[in-house]
């Protein structure tokens, strides 16, 4: 490893040291100051979907702190080339806390964060915390396990359908847990997967739903962040489940239940840390429960109370830590035991998940 000791760095540290000595030790942030927060959205902030939940988080942050927090928001910064410049620009214009909203910004932030010490950085869906860079991600699988219970109870054909966006671990563990949840109440259930290869592509999502229904699926869920899948399911007369999005405003009849992502705790805790001078780069990976990132939302009136109660019981057990969606025994498609009976997988095993559980019919688009 290369030595990181350079003259510039040494002078900087020395200067900072003497400054601290002169002023006495105090938190970096004065209490009466307004905290400037910067957020760079990769996509447009629309009414549903990923960036919407990101925007809800800083909106709640603003509501929580009132005048003490000022938020600068940039949206539609789709090109990685631009990210670095803009993160830097935010950091050098007095923004003390800066958020990235997607994994795609993680590499830029990892490179930038250590050299821009005046600001602190947080990246949603980043892989691991680094110097001056915190990350946060949701345990989507806790939500899909619960919606899986509803799907397992409601299916008549015992065939469920999943519209996959991309085979990233977040999607893979979501659909795996969906089937595990369903099988916890209905061991006959199987799950068919069709890949749309897009986060948002109405045409492909619609085609995927049609293909799943044609194969007998009667409860559809999936990863793309649009109401299209629900609307297509409604058209076909099958149930739809909103994963990471409540689309009941669009899908009037066919949405069985849904869960949303709520990042406000990540934003508020980070802001609190910066204001109190206690911010440190952490990795927040949370699911259901208070302060969590996964929130169960609306359920159809047609969802039987007994099923809703079953879901609520499982939710309470997950929050209490007595139930883990991936508690062993869990087998993969080939029948190999991945998590032994009695074992609970570690975070790293879940975060890098690249295999499908037994009962999933479909494959991961292979990597060459």
């Amino acid at each position: 490893m290369q030595s990181t000791f350079t003259r510039r760095r040494f002078l900087g540290t020395a200067a900072a040291g003497s400054l601290a000595a002169a002023t006495g030790f105090r938190p970096a942030f004065a209490q009466d100051e307004v905290l400037k927060v910067g957020v760079i959205h990769m996509g447009a902030i629309s009414d549903t979907g990923w960036e919407y939940f990101q925007a809800e988080a800083w909106r709640k942050l603003k509501a929580n702190y009132g005048d003490k927090v000022e938020v600068t928001v940039l949206e539609n910064i789709a090109q990685i080339q631009d990210c670095e410049r803009l993160f830097r620009q935010l950091a050098t214009t007095g923004h003390k806390l800066i958020f990235g909203t997607t994994f795609s910004q993680y590499a830029s932030l990892k490179k930038l964060a250590p050299s821009l010490g005046k600001a602190h950085f947080e990246c949603c869906a980043g892989i691991e915390a680094g110097p001056n860079l915190g990350v946060f991600e949701a345990k989507h699988f806790e939500g899909t396990y619960l919606t899986g219970i509803a799907a397992g109870r409601m299916t008549k054909s015992n065939v469920l359908g999943w519209v996959g966006a991309f085979p990233v671990p977040q999607v893979v563990y979501s659909l795996n847990a969906f089937l595990l949840g369903a099988r916890s109440v209905n061991p006959e259930a199987t799950l068919k997967v069709v890949w749309a290869n897009a986060w948002v592509d109405p045409g492909k999502e619609k085609d995927a739903v049609a293909a799943l229904v044609a194969q007998g699926a009667d409860v559809i869920s999936g990863s793309p962040n649009t109401p299209v899948q629900g609307l297509a399911a409604e058209e076909k007369g099958v149930w739809s489940i909103g994963s990471t999005g409540d689309f009941s405003a669009y899908v009037k009849k066919a949405q069985l239940c849904s869960f949303e992502l709520d990042w406000s705790a990540a934003h508020i805790e980070a802001a609190e840390g910066v204001i109190n001078g206690t911010w440190a780069p952490t990795s927040r990976w949370r699911g259901l429960g208070p302060g969590g990132f996964v929130k169960m939302t609306t359920a159809s009136p047609e969802l039987p109370e007994s099923v809703a109660a079953e879901m609520a019981a499982a939710e309470a057990a997950i929050i209490a830590g007595t139930l883990h969606p991936f508690a062993g025994p869990v087998k993969d498609q080939s029948g190999t035991v991945r998590f032994a009976a009695g074992a609970t997988p570690g975070d790293d095993e879940l975060k890098g998940m690249n295999w499908l559980v037994e009962g999933v019919q479909g494959t991961l688009p292979s990597a060459g």
Binding site: L74, N76, Q81, F103, A107, G352, P365, A367
Partner: protein, 371 residues
């Protein structure tokens, strides 16, 4: 009142050069109105808009970094545009440059050979030129329209790149996200301005400007291209090969676009993503025309358009304007420029009372007036 356009016998050379300034001026006026409508002091907002992104060395570095691919591609496209060869496939040719040089970078990057970068530049340029050669061949062999073919090939190239990045080039440590592993240091352009991202790509672009100027303004080939652009028949009569003009025009555009693609992954990206270009291949067409199809003019228009890119983001940050402002100003500038160009070649006349059916308006382009 019935009006018609009448071709001017002699377009004014002075106005050919004044047109971009008029277009910029008109855009500024509309911009002031937009700023005022958004509740800002118009002049302050304009100053903020223009100077905001370039207030320090880093900002200037970013500006030149953004201008580099635009200038580079526009110079190459100009060679074709002068001869009336309409290559609108620079975006796809850029992507081919990314694919060819990316393959080298991923395969030989860890070896760290000093020959890697030159090899990437050569490979990227050749791949871009090869991609442009397909529409050139179809045009010269079968008279297929090069505008349509080169445009369609953009989508094909994009799908190729997606296929690679989603498949065999996916970073094994990247959690299945569609991106390659970071390129090795040996595959990255050296930085030429400390503490910025500005790299040797700028020198490559300026070398292309110089080469373009010599080719177009100081060589016999440049003269042939111009004549071909003016009149196919005249060129044939003079014994100049139209085919050669097509080949030269397409290959020059493909070459520079391919090299610009190398500059993106070896520069600000440092990694291969499914989308390698924010539409530089299309923006460069505007740059070429705004620069009056002249290499020196292109330097200025490239700087202007890249500043506009940066300003759009700054406007979001400090003026609270939506990100679409960049596209709006770009579009307006092109619109005003085209309007000005029409008036350079045509004048508006009141239609005589009993006018015969209007004769089809002969198309005139700026290539005619370009020196």
């Amino acid at each position: 009142m019935p009006l018609r356009l009448e071709r001017r016998p002699q377009p004014s050379t002075a106005m050919v050069y004044a047109a971009p300034l008029i277009a910029v001026g008109a855009t500024v006026i509309v911009a002031l109105v937009i700023f005022a409508a958004a509740g800002h002091a118009p002049l302050d907002a304009l100053v903020m808009f223009v100077t905001g992104p370039v207030q320090d060395r880093y900002g200037v570095g970013e500006w030149l970094l953004k201008a580099t691919p635009l200038i580079l591609i526009a110079v190459g496209l100009t060679v074709g545009f002068r001869a009336g060869v309409w290559n609108v496939g620079a975006e796809g040719q850029l992507i081919l440059g990314v694919i060819a040089s990316g393959w080298l970078a991923l395969k030989f990057g860890p070896g760290g050979s000093p020959l890697l970068l030159p090899a990437m530049i050569v490979a990227g340029g050749l791949a871009g030129a090869a991609w442009a050669a397909i529409p050139a061949l179809l045009r010269t062999r079968f008279n297929a329209n090069e505008i349509l073919v080169s445009l369609m090939f953009n989508y094909v190239a994009q799908l190729w790149l997606s296929w690679l990045v989603f498949g065999m080039w996916r970073d094994p440590a990247g959690f299945n996200f569609p991106q390659s592993e970071p390129l090795a240091p040996a595959a990255l352009y050296p930085i030429i301005l400390e503490d910025t991202r500005l790299n040797i790509g700028l020198w490559i672009a300026l070398a292309a400007v110089l080469a373009g100027w010599v080719l177009l303004s100081r060589s016999y080939i440049g003269f042939q291209l111009k004549v071909t652009g003016l009149s196919d028949a005249a060129a044939r009569y003079a014994g100049f090969s139209t085919r050669r003009a097509v080949w030269l025009g397409m290959l020059a555009g493909g070459l520079t676009a391919g090299i610009a693609g190398v500059g993106e992954i070896a520069g600000p990206l440092g990694q291969i993503f499914p989308t390698a270009s924010p539409g530089y291949g299309y923006a460069a067409i505007i740059v070429a025309f705004l620069g009056r199809l002249h290499p020196i003019g292109i330097v200025f228009s490239g700087l202007l358009l890249s500043l506009l890119y940066l300003s759009g983001d700054t406007a979001q940050m400090s003026l609270g304007l939506p990100s679409s402002i960049t596209g709006l100003f770009q579009g307006m500038m092109l619109f005003f420029l085209l309007a000005a160009d029409v008036l350079i070649f045509y004048r508006i006349r009141r239609r005589p009372a009993a006018a015969p059916a209007a004769a089809p308006v002969a198309s005139a382009t700026i290539a005619e007036a370009a020196p």
